[in-house]
Amino acid sequence: MSILVDKNTRLLVQGITGSEGLFHTTQMVNYGTNVVAGVTPGKGGEWVLDKVPVFDSVKLAVEATGANASIIFVPARFAPDAMFEAADAGIPLVICITEGVAVQDMMRVRNYLDQKNVRLIGPNCPGLLTPGEAKVGIIPGNIAIPGNVGVVSRSGTLTYEVLYALKQVGMGSSTCVGIGGDPVNGTNFIDVLDMFEHDPKTEKVVMIGEIGGTDEEKAAEFISSKMTKPVVSFIAGQTAPPGKRMGHAGAIIEGGAGTAADKVRALESAGVRVAKHPEEIPSLLK
């Protein structure tokens, strides 16, 4: 068992012939992920790695291969269209790795995908890893082993640190979900915490947050009211300078929340143990 992706996931790669797409498709295939198709407009009919057929459109790829999840590696200015295309082709799970998608585009994408009940992970995220079953993203496969720890994170490489630290002490994870750090994204902490709470394979949860926004605060509320499984957390940016503010409006809309100290306080009040640095997490899980 696992959440979101497993051995039965039939994965499509949008942007499969680009340099990133091709590199990570190779990694995913080598990991054992069931990559059934790729899409690059204008390259339909080609093959990747001698085994993955390339199509001109998501619709054609889905018709031919029954793909039921799609991962997006296309450049930022084309990524919104790729997400719309996947949603319109009926794909229920879309993972967008692409970094730098414009925020007004993302608001349109998110509102449209919600209407279609499409689950979006990302953008600007490392994707998903269910160790031993499926790697759907860019998390290096060799840094994690199967286990009972569910990992959810807003940060990319910081997630790798945590998985790596867990592996060093022989701890494995059920599924690792990188939700991405963009202001408007597809899936938030609460969505994933809820999945972990209902996943029989997951016994403990690690949540990796960072400064900005109020997702961690909301997660703390959710943990204290809805979760029975223990949660350990780390919040990045404790020493970050206040940085460039979004004028008055940013302060008003978030009501002064969003600092690392606020988040740590909220999480600790919810019974979450918060690590001082990522490598401290394994000991807090014991």
């Binding site: 490392p126 860019i138 490489t157 020493t239 302060a251």
Partner: protein, 378 residues
């Protein structure tokens, strides 16, 4: 990307929002000339990309062209929060009856644009938000549908704006929505939107921020960027797509991923050091980008040690290693370097750096400790 007040107001005006008559000036004599053209009293407003310029003395009222010139001379000689004032906006002065706050920004929690408005506008709006949140009206906009006319009326009614202004307020709301949506803004703010004594609505001050990720479709706005307002290192970093913020410490940091970059800073501090910068090379950085990052870090004379913390995913450690080598060949750094490479192609990366005499580390904590020690030893 922040826009200056005068740039923001030009955009507002293009979308039908009334603004005061006025122009920007780079010299005091230009300011005098503008004041002469406008006649009457004028306001001399420093154009700097930081808040609080009013409280810092960067906004002054002049009764005639002569005083305008004097005040412009004075303001053009100022620094506000460390930024020299290079331009002033000379606007006709308005007789103000009421100050309204009116903005559109992104509500990340709601995943929608949000209008915020308050009849208690002006410089103290943040205090109003903190102490009387009920005085701030928030209305979400459907991003697929855009602002509806009825929403503008609802806001006017909720603010108790007298009915005689509803129609003009509707035009302004529609204009602000268009300004926000057609420029990919993350903020379009009028504060204050004033009711003048002669019963007009005028956007007296304006602030816009543009989404850097959307500038590819706004070449006209990209040209508005005021690089005079940035540290040269930040300008250089942006050119290469690097996310860089200079800080006051002495340990240069080069990390991939914003979260890990912040964490690296956190740990450096946890072990008694002070980071010299935040630098995220982003995902999938090639060697050229890495070399640029390294040049930027080493251009800071405070830097006594450099910490490289790369956990390869979309970024490949061998590419990073190549970039480091290229930059080292060019810059010939004299400070110690601590490098930690883990993840995608880490082995290849380590091999490339094998001859480069760098301090290597296995864990994040280990890397931070070694960097702190190296900086102290240097």
């Amino acid at each position: 990307m922040k826009l200056h007040e005068y740039q923001s107001k030009q955009i507002f005006s293009k979308f039908g929002i009334p603004i005061p008559k006025g122009r920007v000036a780079a010299t005091a004599s230009e300011a005098r000339q503008i004041a002469e053209e406008l006649g009457g009293r004028v306001v001399i407003k420093s154009q700097v990309l930081v808040g609080g310029r009013g409280k810092a003395g960067g906004v002054k009222l002049a009764k005639d062209p002569q005083e305008a010139e004097q005040l412009a001379t004075q303001i053009l000689g100022m620094e506000i929060k460390g930024l020299p004032v290079r331009k002033v906006l000379v606007d006709e002065a308005a007789a103000i009856d009421q100050e309204i706050y009116f903005a559109i920004t992104n509500d990340r929690a709601a995943k929608k644009p949000v209008i915020m408005a308050s009849a208690a506008g002006g410089v103290d709006i943040e205090e109003v938000a903190a102490t009387h949140p009920e005085k701030i009206i928030k209305v979400h906009i459907d991003p697929l549908l855009g602002l509806r006319d009825y929403q503008a009326r609802d806001i006017a009614a909720s603010m108790d704006l007298p009915r005689e202004y509803w129609k003009d307020f509707g035009t302004i709301a529609n204009g602000l929505w268009k300004a926000y949506s057609s420029t990919d803004a993350t903020l379009a703010e009028i504060n204050p939107l004033v009711i003048t004594k002669d019963k007009r609505l005028v956007a007296l001050d304006g602030k816009m921020m543009i989404d850097d990720n959307a500038l590819f479709r706004h070449s006209d706005l990209s040209e508005m960027r005021d690089i005079d307002e940035e540290a040269p290192a930040e300008t250089e970093a942006r050119k290469y797509g690097l996310s860089f913020i200079k800080l006051d410490g002495n340990i240069g940091c080069m990390v991939n991923g914003a979260g890990l970059a912040m964490t690296s800073m956190d740990i450096v501090k946890l072990f008694g050091g002070e980071p010299a910068n935040f630098l995220d090379i982003g995902g999938g950085a090639g060697s050229e980008k890495v070399a640029a990052a390294m040049r930027i870090i080493l251009s800071d004379p405070n830097v006594k040690a450099v910490l490289f913390n790369i956990f390869g995913g979309i970024t490949r450690c061998d590419e990073v290693a190549k970039g480091i080598l290229a930059a080292m060949a060019e810059v010939k750094p004299k400070v110690p370097m601590v490098v930690r490479l883990v993840g995608t192609n880490a082995e290849e990366g380590r091999q490339l750096l094998a001859d480069a005499k760098m301090i290597t580390a296995e864990t994040l904590a280990d890397a931070a400790k070694k960097a702190v020690a190296a900086a102290k030893g240097a």
